[in-house]
Symmetry: C2
Subunit: 703 residues, 2 copies
């Protein structure tokens, strides 16, 4: 048992170079008011840390975080004691005698591998607080939970918390390239790479690991799924020592490192003539790579694979299928405990826009459903939330209901590619909640996506969440300061999908901006309404796209209409929308279980917000709202711009209640959003007015 | 008088690295059939070169070119004699006694500074051929003309040619950047630069100078009008020694070198705090630069300036006008004989698409017409052929008729930015002929653009043509081999705008592909029809744009419709076009003299091909052709695709009659064009069918 002195803690936890509140994000431990601190201090001033903290890096992190957090919030340094009996706060694994003696066995048995408990107990006549996990990681998570209680000013004198993760894998996907760029990144450059090499100073990565662990994320893929030339060599001797350094940083925070691989690596990095997954030489090459990787990174997580997708190589080249490819990799990793995550974002990206029979929305299901049951136990299929690509509004992918004998993961996009690129405020937790709560009916009512991907529904050994990072080297990590809430919310939801949007939001706002009721209320409402506001002034009624090609920012109604990407709205002078019905369209609706299949198929029953995703209708079609489609478009676009302007005013009402740095940086983005929302409004309205010839009922200005 | 041996000639003329016919372009001296060679050889076998060839690099080039060309075509090395009386062919300036003695004084007096004569005379009882100019440059031009006669198999036994250039300046503008890229270049990388430095080996530049001189071009700007950071320093000591090396290469071929300058250079390269053209320090800075430049390049041509245009710096920043800026530079260069070419491509490139009152087409006239008479004698205004930007069809810029006291130059774009990017065949000489023959009526009937820019009409001291190069380091110089004809034709037209398209085309085809009648007829017709074919399947009736933003390749009807670039078509479900009339539109038509002003203003009289440039009409508007606008769009687009397919077939009919290398390279491009033409057809037709709801009368497939 080792104690750290104050200076030591300060040096090891947090980078001193970045002291701003924006950088601290949800690890901002604001000093508590005296009366509150006083209430806490009794249970927090004397700490016993059980276990071999010196030799267990996760325990060490837990202890450092606990001491650092308490000191900052309480304004005094807690004392570490070597005598458990002296301590009021005890932290450690449940198998340590000093902890076990305080916790009821039945309670302890409820704690899973990564779970923890926070219990206030009476022992020897005095009140004690126990933070305990089955493993060191559980202790670390318990510490962060405990600190969050203090951050949100909860009571600790009668704690009885047991938490276990809903999902085994709670993962972040980085689309970072080794040149320092980030595909779809809107918060600066990579925190991992610069100029085709790893960044030497790992202190920012350490701070990032702390942020991840604080929301109990446990897995990270550190390179882009589009694996370019240099990145192909990450799994070779050339880069593995560097990968190992980074893995060590994450390891101390309970996070396993994964790599995206290039399916053609045996050719491009191995000098073989084929990457055929059934070729013995290829299989051996991957086995050798696995061996080498684990020599450098003993707890390496595994591979993330984008194959036969958007020009990436894959098993199709050799007449093999996705299962052949994924299973080969899984077999190579299995001896070491690694896994393969295989993305289902597979479709024809060279479609002829003139071809009306092909429907990109059907592609993932059509590709993977026939392979159900053929994948190795150590393979997980990673499925995007919707059938297209992270639009502001899509139906939930029917593939979640289509697989019963295959491990699944839900892929969400935290980075705001199509949702305003961290210039617009678009808080995505409410969207994600709709996804995880969506009932697939795959095994009758209650077969939610949450239960599907956790593995619970079909008793699968693996599963979880993957989120594409919105993280870059901007001072505030996410470009738009309020976009931190998306990362935070993603982590919280991956741990506990039953949390409500409101709970997560309230928590994040309090931690980030404090407890002034006006601040909490204003920012929470801004966040919770922002997705709907963004949807109002962008692509209407679930039709999607309508963005500028390539960078995907700003309105361009026909931007993807005559493209190869399978993304069309078919607007003409009479109407708009994609007929995906069985009766007259592409037949996509049949990929859903009932009652969704019938509901989406029916023009009458189809939800308004998805109408144009499923049906081609005249502009005069009347929605459930009572409005025509064209009037809905006009109304939402005028309303959306007003709402964007109101966001500015609502934020301005907080001036003086938030530090100037964060206040100004958010204000600047909100102003840009409000201005750009007008461009969206005018382009969309003008396009449809010119196309339909139908005037706005209210005679507002359309160009 | 120096003679060169064969080996010496071979080393100095032409790069041995490139021996292909594609590389040789119009300096391909195919060996003539024996009977023809015999007819020529009598006058060509013994040559007297008058003047100090050893010390005059232009005379040296003339002699080398003459010997090399004759030897290649006649199959035997001509003999250089030191005794004029022995020679059958004499070349030199008219002031050399041996030449003067053979030419009638009145004839000689007709030859201008850059002109020449080719005369067959009887002297001492024998027939002699004289190639003579007032200057060495005239001799060089005469030699190239003479060689062209042999290339095209003309008679030489009774020559009586006197040629003088119509234009003093016959210039090429390179949009080359020092990183090696070329803005709007479609034939590889720059022949001048790589990696922010000059290319060391100047042999390709020398071959380029030969190609230029052969079509009598006499001026070259070697860097992009958008002058970036490195290029700003071309006028400083850092690069002037390199500039001087390149200037020397061009000098030997009678070509003066010019540089594009950055108006903010006093700040960016000079460390001053201002670039105000009326600031004494700034004026002195430019004077110092001029002095320094001329120390390195004694015949430096001058500056080309893009100022206050598309975010380039300019005098507006300091509340000064274009005349203030241009005149300051002219005064700096004047002591050394340099000039300033100031571009009129000035417009608001941050226009709000919602603003219907601003008309980009009016901008050049509105900016520069009020300054007429205020420019220094050594300033030339360079005006693009049309009021917008090198579209497949535009009216002629009214600014040509708007200036009477200002030097003018016509700017043409040889590189095919909007006309198929050297993948599509689009021979632009017929388009340019329409421009140069356009009657501005600025001084009554016959006030053609050709006479305006030559300076003849208003007795201006300077004027000419500028063409944006289509040249790169591709083996064949221009990417599409047939695009060589655009460069060739540009040069010929700049020298002699009265040449017809047919004359130029016939000449180029014979020089390039030989004299087989089927070859000449087929390729000539392909070239002459290609502009019209390209227009057929792209933007209709003069409306322009409809291309993908940024790179400008491929169809995108709304690509520039909601942009900041002032380029709109205003298509709605009823009609299309830009109302530029005085009566109901932007008033642009008033910038023309009569009868154009009335003709363009009138919906009835406006030429069909420009209808949508001047008028917004319903799709059902009936053209002079008898077709409705919508049916015209459908018909031309279906027809254009058929024509593009026919181009392939016509070319294929020549298989075996053209060397395989050139045959295949052209075929490949024609096939790509035919395929891409379908994309144009289908996108344009589908767009307008969806928008108008009007079906094709012939029921053809529209998507």
């Amino acid at each position: 048992m080792t104690t750290n002195n104050k200076a030591g803690i300060r040096n090891s936890v947090g980078s001193e170079r970045y002291a701003s509140t924006a950088y601290q994000a949800w690890l901002r431990y604001e000093k508590l008011p005296a009366e509150l601190a006083e209430a806490y201090v009794q249970l927090c001033s004397k700490i016993y840390a059980a276990g071999n903290v010196a030799e267990d890096p996760v325990l060490r992190s837990a202890q450092e975080e606990l001491l650092e957090g308490l000191q900052a919030m309480l304004g005094q340094q807690p004392e570490l004691t070597d005598t458990a009996g002296d301590a009021a706060l005890l932290a450690g694994t449940l198998d340590e005698p000093e902890i076990a003696g305080l916790i009821d066995k039945d309670e302890a048995a409820k704690v899973d591998e990564e779970g923890y408990l926070l219990h206030t107990v009476i022992s020897g006549g005095s009140r004690k607080l126990v933070i305990a996990g089955t493993t060191s990681k559980g202790v670390l998570y318990g510490v962060f939970h405990f600190l969050r209680i203090l951050q949100t000013r909860g009571r600790i004198d009668n704690l009885s918390v047991i938490e276990n993760p809903a999902n085994k894998l709670r993962m972040i996907n980085h689309w970072d390239n080794m040149d320092g760029s980030i595909e779809r990144g809107y918060a600066g450059e990579s925190i991992f790479y610069r100029d085709h090499a790893f960044i030497e100073d790992l202190s920012r990565i350490r701070d990032y690991a702390r942020l991840m662990a604080a929301v109990q994320l446990n897995a990270v893929v550190i390179n882009n799924v589009n694996v370019h030339e240099t990145e192909t060599k990450l799994i070779t001797k050339e880069f593995l020592p560097q990968v190992a350094r980074v893995a060590e940083v994450f390891r101390a925070y309970g996070i396993r490192l994964y790599l995206s691989i290039n399916f053609a690596a045996p050719i491009q990095a191995g000098g073989l003539e084929t990457a055929d997954p059934l070729d013995p030489q290829v299989r051996r090459w991957w086995q050798d790579r696995a061996k080498e990787i684990y020599e450098h990174v003993p707890d390496f997580g595994g591979f993330l694979v984008k194959a036969d997708s958007e020009h990436r190589p894959g098993p199709f080249t050799y007449g093999r299928d996705h299962a052949d490819g994924a299973n080969m990799l899984a077999e190579a990793l299995e001896p070491y405990g690694g896994i393969v995550i295989w993305r289902c974002f597979v479709y024809n990206c060279m479609q002829d826009w003139r071809d009306r029979s092909t429907d990109r929305a059907k592609a993932a299901y059509d590709h993977f459903r026939p392979l159900d049951g053929r994948f190795h136990e150590r393979v997980i299929l990673q499925i995007k939330n919707g059938p297209m690509d992270f639009q502001v509004r899509e139906p939930v992918s029917p593939l979640f209901g289509g697989l019963t004998r295959t491990n699944q993961m839900l892929e969400l996009q935290i980075t705001q590619e199509y949702t305003g690129q961290q210039i617009h405020l678009c808080y995505l937790v409410p969207q994600w909640k709709e996804v995880v709560d969506f009932d697939t009916y795959a095994a009758g009512e209650g077969s939610t996506v949450a239960r599907t991907v956790s593995g619970e529904l079909f008793n699968r050994p693996l599963g979880g969440f993957a989120g594409v990072a919105n993280i870059g080297n901007d001072e505030n990590w996410t470009g738009h300061l309020l976009a931190q809430a998306n990362f935070y919310g993603y982590g919280r939801l991956a741990w506990k999908p039953t949390l409500t949007s409101e709970e997560i939001t309230d928590e994040w706002v309090r931690i980030t901006f404090g407890h002034d009721p006006q601040v909490v209320e204003t920012i929470s409402r801004m966040l919770l309404e922002s997705w709907s506001i963004y949807e109002n002034y962008t692509a209407p009624l679930g039709v999607g796209w309508m963005v500028n090609p390539g960078h995907h920012y700003g309105p361009n109604v026909d931007g993807y209409e005559y493209s190869r990407w399978g993304t069309y709205h078919f607007a003409d002078c009479h109407g708009i929308g994609v007929d995906r019905t069985v009766k007259t369209g592409t037949g996509y609706t049949a990929q859903y279980h009932e009652p969704h299949a019938s509901r989406y198929e029916s023009l009458e029953e189809c939800p308004d917000e998805l109408l144009l995703f499923f049906h081609h209708v005249p502009y005069t079609h009347v929605l459930h709202s009572g409005k025509t489609v064209i009037q809905h478009i006009y109304d939402t676009h005028f309303e959306g711009v007003e709402q964007a302007a109101e966001l500015v005013e609502r934020w301005r009402s907080l001036e003086g209640k938030i530090d100037a740095e964060r206040y100004e940086s958010v204000l600047e983005r909100l102003l840009e959003q409000a201005e750009h929302a007008k461009e969206w409004r005018d382009v969309i309205n003008t396009y449809f007015y010119r196309k339909s010839g139908i005037a706005d009922q209210h005679g507002r200005k359309i160009y």
